[in-house]
Each structure stands twice: as structure tokens, then as C-alpha cells.
């Protein structure tokens, strides 16, 4: 048994004005308070399980409609409308009764992302409640919660929380007299970033290697154990109780019209107060980085920001005012992804940073498709030689010619994800690569992002 955490984690969670109408706290209630994972606290202090009781009195379709009306888009990366996804689930017909599953994606492996962890740490009951409501809306038989293997202590906490919910009669047979049976099962991953991709996750959940599946069939047709399945991110599911409680239309007023609600942003890298901030979608990036996270921690100017986890193309200075919502970030050439912002100051060598990122993709590629498996490895090798002063000018064209041959030519988006940082770094910081080739050393001074102890 791993111990249930007894020391507070040192993240920053709050800021002046948090919890007011301007900055509602729907997700991070009680973050930082270590007793908050108990059902008792959740029910007494945070309107816990109110939404569930409300939802179980509604028709399942009406619950889905409410989520649709809220306009919430998936927080796992792709930003797909959650209500719409739920409505794809096939329904029972008089001739055919289906076994449907709801799966929660808690693999959280995207570098720069550390938000689901906070929900699991401080607010597991909100996730459980969201999964009960989702399970009711789609009339599922079981909900699986897939959590990355490193989070052993969170898995044990979640299991303890689920047990409390069972004892309260919120899970199990004939929940609150509705005649509906539903339970939650936690499944522990074993260290593979690719298992965050939903079909790879389903394979892993079935006890296989985490290799993405060919789509179609989509999970709604044939998912976990061959049954219709919906996969949602931890944060998406944990947002469901507030949506039901306040009503979809009310929730939709937060944020911007096509990007509703709040989301949890994580800021890491060269800032004074790295941490977790819940903000309405559409909040400008420089407000988050400068005002809340305190700006540069090194005293140097900020040079680049990755706005949505490692897979998102980098932004340079001219886009630091970008409102953080799915559509605007996309229009400016990046993606809002998982909401993890990685801030790099002027002294960061972009060649090193890109090499470190590409090394990650090369290592995590599952190896099924040639463009991704070979392409990521080649990009790593070319960047490695540039970094080590043995690059040639042609290497830059070679790199630029590789990405279009990977992007959109693979089974799953991991290949595309690797191209995001590569392309944007080359476009926006080409002079640093050229400097590396001509001067055989970094354009910046003192950047040491790569260890010399070799083997990885």
C-alpha cells in the first residue's frame, strides 16, 4: 500500500479573486486541503452529489441534452464537444440490449500537463459523481477509470473514495432506487504515454500492448471489450456535476460562446509561481503567465511559450496575448491541447528544447506506423548532431521535409504531435539552428537541458 498523501503538495492553486463570479471555482474547490477527498467533506462543503441526485431523477437523454447545452468541449486534448460524443452511444432497442461502458482517461502523460492529478488528489468524489452522471446518461453497466501507473498513491486514494461512495449507496445495485446497477473499476497503467490515446488506452485496459487501433470502428461502436464505449478525460467528467447543478445554459455563459466553461491550466518552466490555475476559457495567455504565475523567474525575458502541452506548436512573443480557448489558439497556429503551458526564457536553447521533446516522441512511439517510428528517430538523430556541433545546413531542409511525411500519415495523432514542436521551432527560431550549425555551439549561453550521463 502506498501511503495516502499526508504532506501538502507545493503547487500554487489560488489567486486574489478566485471563487468570485469573474473567476468561478468549479473544479479546484478545496484544492490544497488534504482531507477533501472524503465523501463527508465533499457533501458538506462542496454541494457534493447534489447533481447526481438531480440527474438520477431526470431521463438519461435529458442529462445528455443538458451537457450538450453547456457546450463543454473535451479537456483531454482534442476539444471535441462532450455532449455530442455522449449522444453517439447506441441505445437499447426492444430486440437488443447492449452493454455500454464509460471510460475515464487518467493517463496524463503529456509533458507540461499536471491537472488531472489535482482532481484525483483533492477532489476524487467530483470525478466519481461525474462518472455516475455520465454512466446514467448513457446507461452504462460499468465505468472504468484508467490511471497512469506512476500515480499509485492516487489510485489507492481513488479506490478508497469509491468505497465510500459504494457504502453511501451511490454505486452498486439499484442505485437510489432507480433500478440501475453501475460500478466503477480502477485500472492501473504501466508507463506508456501512448496509452493516453483513447484506442491505445482501450487496448491497454483489455490487458494488451497499448497500440492505437484503426478507426473506424470508433469506440462508440466497438470500444472496451468490444462494447460501445465513451472515453472522456478526467477533467471533462469532473466538470459534469457543476454543469448539472447550475444547468447547461448557465454554464455556457462562462468563457466565450464556442468555448464554454472553465478549465484547469498548468504553468511550468521559467515562471515565479508555477502551478495550477482554473480560469474561464478565453483568458489571455499573458494574464495567466504574467499576472498569476508572476512572469519570468530568471529575470530574463520570456522567449517562447508552449500553450497546450508538449505536442502544441510553440508561440513566440507576438502571440503571447493569445486568448486561451480552443479556436483562437488553433487559428494562431497552435493548439490548446491539454492546457499545460510551458514557459521558456531567453537563455533557453531552442535546439536543446526541441531535441528533448523529439526524443520523447521517438521513445514513446508505439512503432506501428513507419512514418512515426522511423521519422521521430531520424528527427532525433539529426537534431542530436546539430546540437553536438556536427550539423550541416542541409539538415534544416531535411528536417523541414520530414514533418510533412509524418504528419497526417499515421494511425494516431502522436506522429502529428511530434511535428508540432519541430515545425514551429524551425519556423520561429531558425536562426538558433543556423547558429548551432555555423558556430557549433548554442545561440544562447548557459542552457543545459540535456544530461551528459547518457543513456535514457
Amino acid at each position: 500500500m502506498a501511503a495516502i498523501r499526508t504532506k501538502r503538495d507545493p503547487h500554487t492553486y489560488t489567486f486574489p479573486g478566485f471563487g468570485t463570479d469573474k473567476f468561478p471555482n468549479l473544479m479546484l474547490r478545496g484544492a490544497g486541503d488534504l482531507d477533501n477527498w472524503h465523501l463527508k467533506v465533499y457533501e458538506q462543503q462542496h454541494e457534493g452529489y447534489v447533481a447526481m441526485k438531480q440527474a438520477l431523477k431526470m431521463e438519461p437523454v435529458a442529462v445528455t441534452e443538458e451537457v450538450k447545452a453547456s457546450g463543454i468541449r473535451g479537456r483531454g486534448g482534442a476539444g471535441f464537444p462532450a455532449g455530442l460524443k455522449w449522444s453517439f452511444m447506441p441505445k437499447d432497442t426492444p430486440e437488443r440490449k447492449l452493454t455500454r461502458y464509460l471510460v475515464c482517461n487518467g493517463d496524463e502523460g503529456e509533458p507540461g500537463t499536471f491537472k488531472d492529478r489535482v482532481i484525483l488528489e483533492y477532489n476524487p468524489h467530483q470525478l466519481i459523481e461525474g462518472m455516475i452522471i455520465g454512466g446514467w446518461a448513457m446507461q452504462c453497466a460499468v465505468g472504468y477509470i484508467y490511471i497512469r501507473g506512476e500515480f499509485l498513491w492516487l489510485i489507492e486514494k481513488l479506490e478508497a473514495a469509491i468505497q465510500e461512495a459504494r457504502e453511501a449507496g451511490y454505486l452498486g445495485k439499484n442505485i437510489l432506487g432507480t433500478g440501475w446497477d453501475y460500478d466503477l473499476l480502477v485500472y492501473r497503467g504501466a508507463g506508456a504515454y501512448i496509452c493516453g490515446e483513447e484506442t491505445a488506452l482501450l487496448n491497454s485496459l483489455e490487458g494488451r500492448r497499448g497500440e492505437p487501433r484503426v478507426k473506424p470502428p470508433f469506440p462508440a461502436a466497438k470500444g472496451a471489450f468490444g462494447q460501445p464505449t465513451t472515453v472522456n478525460n478526467v477533467e471533462t467528467l469532473a466538470a459534469v456535476p457543476p454543469i448539472i447543478r447550475m444547468g447547461g445554459a448557465e454554464y455556457a455563459k462562462i468563457g466565450t460562446p464556442k468555448n464554454t466553461g472553465t478549465r484547469i491550466f498548468g504553468v511550468s518552466g521559467h515562471v515565479k509561481r508555477p502551478g495550477i490555475y482554473e480560469l474561464p476559457l478565453g483568458t489571455p495567455m499573458n494574464f495567466l503567465v504574467e499576472e498569476l504565475a508572476g512572469g519570468s523567474s530568471t529575470g530574463k525575458k520570456i522567449k517562447a511559450i508552449i500553450p497546450g502541452g508538449a505536442s502544441a506548436p510553440m508561440f513566440d512573443e507576438k502571440d503571447f496575448d493569445c486568448p486561451l480557448d480552443f479556436d483562437t489558439v488553433k487559428a494562431r497556429g497552435s493548439m490548446a491541447g491539454s492546457g499545460g503551458l510551458i514557459v521558456m526564457d531567453e537563455d533557453t536553447c531552442i535546439v536543446q528544447a526541441t531535441l528533448r521533446l523529439i526524443k520523447f516522441y521517438a521513445h514513446e512511439s508505439c512503432g506501428q506506423c513507419t512514418p512515426c517510428r522511423e521519422g521521430c528517430n531520424w528527427m532525433e538523430m539529426i537534431l542530436y548532431r546539430i546540437e553536438h556541433g556536427e550539423g550541416r545546413m542541409e539538415d534544416l531542409d531535411l528536417l523541414a521535409s520530414l514533418t510533412p511525411r509524418i504528419s497526417m500519415r499515421t494511425l494516431c495523432p502522436l506522429g502529428d504531435a511530434a511535428c508540432g514542436p519541430m515545425d514551429s521551432a524551425l519556423q520561429k527560431f531558425r536562426h538558433e539552428f543556423e547558429h548551432h550549425i555555423t558556430h557549433k555551439t548554442c545561440y544562447t549561453t548557459g542552457s543545459k537541458l540535456l544530461s551528459t550521463v547518457g543513456a535514457h
Partner: protein
């Protein structure tokens, strides 16, 4: 023209002809078998017990040896090849012995921006082992370089065995963690 190539990663699948180290233990304990059967019963397909059973094997055998994989296959009643494929796919199954305290150091981007590369070097210096090299002669330490642990905001971070992370680790904190390991404040590997 020869170009320098990045070093091979330590948790790479086996090279052709390379053999897995063997463990002393060859069979599961009856309690472990019962535990695996309990897991099989929970899922619609017994195959789903593969990953949890490999964790149980890692706990009982100390690491996931070939014998451990065979024992998993036998306990669930599935092909050995399947178990081998799964065990070698995931990095959290250690296919070789590790130290009593196994340090996983994240060196991905957010941690690297806050000194993870230097931290990894310090960890290697203080424990006397390098990533992928197996435990130190006294069996106390082993080190692994890992990808993002989702502790980016409190970087750099390390995980000792499978416990709660240690965050904002600098040299001082690293020394404290190692002292705490020696005092037995961290659970030893596979217990």
C-alpha cells in the same frame, strides 16, 4: 561520414540474442494466485488481468523475469508470448533487478528547464550508478531516467520506488531523500 548518434535508451526492448536476467523465484505464491483470480473475475475478459498480474509478479519476484512472465501466463491461462509482449511494451515493469531504492528522475522539458539534467547527474554521482546499469554493488540504489511524471509545476521531481513524488528536488533535498531511504522511511522496492 560518421555522425554522433544519440545513446540507446536503457529501457529499450531486448537486443537480438540478448537474454533476460533470471530470478531465483519461479512460481507464484498461493496468495498471489488467489489475488490474480480475483482480478480475472472482475473483468469481462480474463486477458485484462495481464497488467495487474505483472505488477503482482514484479512484487513477488522482485522484477519481471522470464519466469515471472511464464508464471503470469500460467496463472491467467493465456499464451506466454502475449505476456512477454505486454511486459516488454511498458516501462514500469522492470525486466532486470533494481536496487532497494529505485530513483525515477524526470528529465522532460518542464523539469529540464528547472535543472533536471543537473539533478540526474547529481543522483548518479551520489548513488554511484548510471541509468540502466542495474543496482549499486551494495544493492541499495538504481536510477532510471523517465519521461514526464505530471509534476511539472514543482519540477524537478523524482519518484522513489512507486511512492508519492519528491518535488522541487535540489542537491540538499536529494541528500535528505537518500538519508530518509537509509533510515527506512521509504518503502523498499517490491514491498
Amino acid at each position: 561520414m560518421n555522425h554522433p548518434q544519440p545513446p540507446e535508451t536503457s529501457n529499450e526492448p531486448l537486443a537480438p540474442g540478448q537474454r533476460l536476467p533470471e530470478s531465483e523465484r519461479k512460481e507464484f505464491s498461493p496468495e498471489a494466485i488467489a489475488e490474480i483470480q480475483g482480478i480475472m473475475a472482475k473483468f469481462p475478459d480474463k486477458l485484462a488481468a495481464t497488467l495487474p498480474a505483472l505488477y503482482i509478479a514484479q512484487r513477488e519476484f522482485g522484477f519481471v523475469s522470464l519466469a515471472a512472465m511464464k508464471a503470469v501466463a500460467k496463472a491467467i491461462g493465456i499464451p506466454e508470448g502475449h505476456v512477454f509482449g505486454v511486459a516488454t511494451f511498458y516501462t514500469m515493469y522492470q525486466k532486470a533487478p533494481v536496487g532497494k531504492f529505485h530513483f525515477s528522475v524526470c528529465t522532460n522539458i518542464s523539469c529540464a528547464l528547472r535543472g533536471a539534467a543537473q539533478l540526474l547527474e547529481k543522483v548518479c554521482e551520489k548513488t554511484g550508478v548510471k541509468p540502466g546499469q542495474g543496482p549499486s554493488p551494495d544493492g541499495m540504489w538504481s536510477v532510471e531516467e523517465v519521461e514526464c511524471l505530471a509534476g511539472c509545476g514543482v519540477a524537478p521531481c523524482i519518484q522513489v520506488n512507486q511512492d508519492v513524488y519528491d518535488e522541487l528536488v535540489d542537491e540538499q533535498k536529494l541528500i535528505e531523500v537518500m538519508e530518509a531511504c537509509k533510515r527506512g522511511e521509504y518503502r523498499p522496492w517490491a514491498q
